[in-house]
């Protein structure tokens, strides 16, 4: 047997698994069909954010953010890591009540945040329109150029002895091997299915839907925005709903470029740009930040988030299939939660006690053993 672990998928989640496992001395191979970080990872924003929509989501995002902060001193400058913080923007009094709720949720769990009133929000982000109610500044959040970070994780894993196979399409997973489309097999002690929205095809029973999103990037406008800005209605308008939705979500890149999201669509199968939803997305953004209208847009692209029914990723042993582990379904949080996922997978394979309870992410919640 050549490899201890074969990881299917070279996105940021697969890369993080390779990073964590190779550090423990395991012989790892990453098998990627297209190119490192070329799928959902390439389409994302690179926001490293602590979420509060459920205890499990909070635990995984906070744990992962801590791991990112540990990684940062060794991260090359090209990874463009910036601790810019997130401001959750409240449009009205109802959303200010949500700001206060969020503030105490974070405070109870040791996350520093600061309530901004109308004036301090305006001072922090002069390009937001006047008359917004306020916001919550979560200063520990960051952004990263996730493509370079993925590459860094893979390169580090390679230095730890990992191998990388690109251009190989995995068509089947067994307890001791993976099957490649050219008919060859790769022998291994364990398999990690980190194949994003294609993971369910390899591990039947998982429920992963493609949730399409659009992003826009502008030319360079240094200091146009200083924090990642997300409308507080985001959860109401985007995460919660089953229909197509848009939300205001702006990110300043260290290059001075402005990255603008977001849209969420179920049922869209092709990656074509949908001008109707794109216009809804920009219209929503202009309501918050009218000055965006005049910024020069250089690119628009789409991507697919791998979404599970309960918005939590599948991390852990695949029920009924010995030595097979799942690390997939991270929806829109894969950049943040990749590092936590890598550690939880290493814990599961090595039989270690995880740093956070792992049950909420277990694929067993979807697949009952018979």
């Amino acid at each position: 047997m050549k490899f201890d672990v074969a990881i299917v998928g070279g996105g940021i989640v697969g890369a993080a698994c390779a990073y964590s496992l190779s550090r423990e001395g395991l012989k790892v191979v990453v098998i990627e069909s297209a190119g490192i970080a070329s799928g959902t990872t390439a389409a994302g924003m690179g926001h490293i954010v602590v979420m509060d929509d459920s205890e499990a989501q909070f635990a995984l995002t906070r744990y992962s953010q801590q791991l990112w902060n540990k990684l940062v001193p060794g991260l090359p400058k090209l990874a463009e890591f910036e601790n810019c913080g997130t401001i959750w923007v409240a449009a009205d009094d109802e959303e200010m009540a949500e700001v206060r709720r969020k503030h105490s949720f974070y405070a109870e769990r040791g996350i520093r945040s600061e309530i901004l009133d109308e004036a301090s929000l305006s001072a922090a982000e002069p390009n937001l329109r006047r008359g917004l109610a306020g916001g919550l500044l979560v200063s520990g959040d960051s952004v990263v150029y996730q493509l370079f970070a993925t590459r860094f994780l893979i390169d580090t894993a390679k230095r730890n002895g990992a191998e990388l196979m690109v251009g190989k399409d995995v068509v089947g997973i067994d307890a001791d091997s993976v099957l490649i489309s050219d008919g060859t097999t790769i022998k291994c002690g364990n398999v990690v299915n980190a194949a994003g929205f294609t993971a369910a095809g390899l591990s039947p029973g998982l429920k992963i839907a493609k949730r399409k999103g659009h992003l826009i990037i502008t030319e360079r406008y240094p200091n146009f925005a200083r924090h990642q800005l997300v409308e507080l209605g985001y959860l109401k308008s985007a995460h919660g709903s089953a229909t197509d939705s848009v939300a205001f979500n702006v990110q300043p890149r260290s290059t001075g470029q402005i990255l603008l999201g977001s849209s969420r669509q179920f049922g869209a199968v092709d990656g074509e740009i949908d001008h109707a939803i794109l216009r809804r997305m920009t219209a929503r953004a202009f309501e918050y930040m009218p000055a965006l209208r005049d910024l020069s847009t250089v690119r628009v692209w789409t991507g697919f988030r791998p979404a599970t029914p309960d918005n939590l990723p599948y991390i852990g042993a695949m029920p009924g299939q010995a030595n097979v582990y799942i690390a997939a379904g991270h929806e829109g949080l894969g950049i943040t939660t990749s590092l936590g996922t890598g550690e939880l997978i290493a814990d599961a394979i090595l039989g270690r006690e995880p740093a956070i309870p792992a049950e909420p992410y277990s694929p067993a919640r979807e697949i009952k053993e018979h």
């Binding site: 190119g35 390439a42 502008t218 001008h275 910024l295 020069s296 690119r299 628009v300």
Partner: protein
């Protein structure tokens, strides 16, 4: 968003576009959309509001005579899901719908990276000519014109006429190929006459073949003088000048065709003999179908215009003429192919992607343009890879990446 409907919609107001519009306008309602303030395209760009060439002037007057609807200052940046095109204008976005579409989007210069090519006084040859036409005073300025292709001669001629001191023209192609190309011109008497007149006007300007710029430095930053090293038939010569005008022949503009899904082979839009692309009712004429010069553009435009207007028999009458101008284009492209030595001019710290400041040394390790793009952002800046894409294709053999709207930067509210 305002909407424009056209029976025949022509994108581009250069030689091919005007010729197409004129041919179609006898039979159909025609709209021309062009990104410049005036018709003429690159080759016939107006000089301070006036077009010089008599042929061009006549064509512009005919197209302007009222039969053709002309929309200037409109940049096509993408297509809608319903198959219409979107263009940005000073007054916002317009939506263009059509029954037949003719793409006449022209060509741009190719640039190749060498140490110093990003200095402020190194410009594109065609770009410098456009600036001079726009009013830049070049009198008594010392200029070296370098690169490849007949455009170098035209540019040198124009600069000289405007009072510049053209130190030399450095043409990378070998003398034998240039001679062979010139000898082949007997089939094209007009070209010979043009060429002879041009050479007469440039008789005191050294025309060096087998010669290319290897390096360019600005030793004294207090002056604008740059030192340019030219490899002249294998001998390195260092020359001083104020401006270096560089261009390595032309690259077809195929982005609109690509966004519409037309088949593109080896960087050129694939067309049948009626200039129809792989998509029914979408035609393409001129440089995007293969660099062929102005005569080829005029003929192809005419065929496309007639075919789009349903005048099949009339269109067919121009096939023979088109074949002839195409042969000229083939000879042209063969004479000015880029030599291998140009692949090794850049050093590790030479910037290749100017928008994103990506150096040659960072690109070497990648296998294709997408990998390089994702890891380094090469080609992701405002020029959308128009400059570094063709350079990388030559340097590394990378196929250009997929084209996505907006194909030109647009204001976010115009998306």
């Amino acid at each position: 968003m305002s909407k424009v409907r056209a029976e025949v919609l022509v994108i581009g107001g250069g030689a091919a576009g005007m010729s197409a519009a004129l041919a179609a306008s006898a039979y159909a309602d025609v709209t021309v959309v062009d990104d410049n303030p005036m018709l003429g395209g690159q080759i016939w760009r107006a000089e301070l509001g006036k077009i010089k060439s008599p042929d061009a002037k006549r064509l512009v007057e005919q197209v302007n005579s009222g039969k053709v609807n002309i929309i200037n200052n409109a940049q096509v940046f993408g297509s809608d899901s319903h198959g219409c095109l979107l263009a940005e204008t000073p007054d916002g976005t317009i939506e263009l719908t059509f029954e037949k579409l003719i793409l006449a989007t022209g060509a741009r210069e190719r640039f190749l990276p060498f140490p110093g090519w990003t200095l402020p006084n190194v410009l594109g040859a065609g770009g410098l000519q456009a600036m001079v036409k726009g009013g830049l005073n070049i009198a008594d300025t010392r200029v070296i014109v370098a690169g490849t292709g007949p455009l170098l001669l035209a540019v040198a001629d124009h600069l000289k006429a405007k009072g510049a001191k053209v130190i030399c023209i450095a043409e990378q192609a070998p003398a034998s190929k240039i001679r062979g190309f010139a000898l082949g011109l007997w089939r094209f008497p007009a070209k010979i006459a043009q060429g002879v007149a041009l050479r007469m006007r440039l008789r005191d300007v050294p025309y060096w073949t087998d010669s290319w710029v290897t390096d360019c430095v600005n030793d004294d930053e207090t002056t604008h003088t740059i030192s340019v090293t030219v490899s002249q038939s294998g001998v390195a010569r260092t020359l001083e000048c104020d401006l270096l005008a560089c261009g390595f022949h032309l690259v077809p503009n195929t982005e609109v065709a690509a966004v519409l899904g037309c088949r593109i082979d080896d960087g050129t839009v694939r067309v049948d003999e009626f200039q129809q692309t792989s998509i029914a009712n979408i035609y393409c004429a001129g440089e995007p179908t293969g660099i062929g010069g102005v005569e080829a553009s005029l003929i192809e435009g005419k065929i496309a215009g007639l075919a789009a207007a349903g005048q099949i028999d009339e269109a067919r009458r121009h096939f023979a003429e088109n074949g002839k101008t195409r042969r000229f284009g083939d000879a042209l492209n063969a004479a000015f192919t880029l030599r291998d030595e140009l692949r090794s001019l850049a050093s590790a710290d030479t910037v290749v992607c100017r928008c994103e400041d990506v150096e040659y040394g960072r690109l070497i390790e990648f296998a294709n343009s997408r990998e390089a793009k994702l890891q380094t952002r090469c080609g992701m800046g405002p020029c959308q890879g128009r400059i570094c894409g063709p350079a990388n294709e030559f340097l590394f053999g990378w196929k250009p990446g997929t084209v996505r709207p907006p194909i030109f930067p647009v204001k976010m509210e115009d998306l």
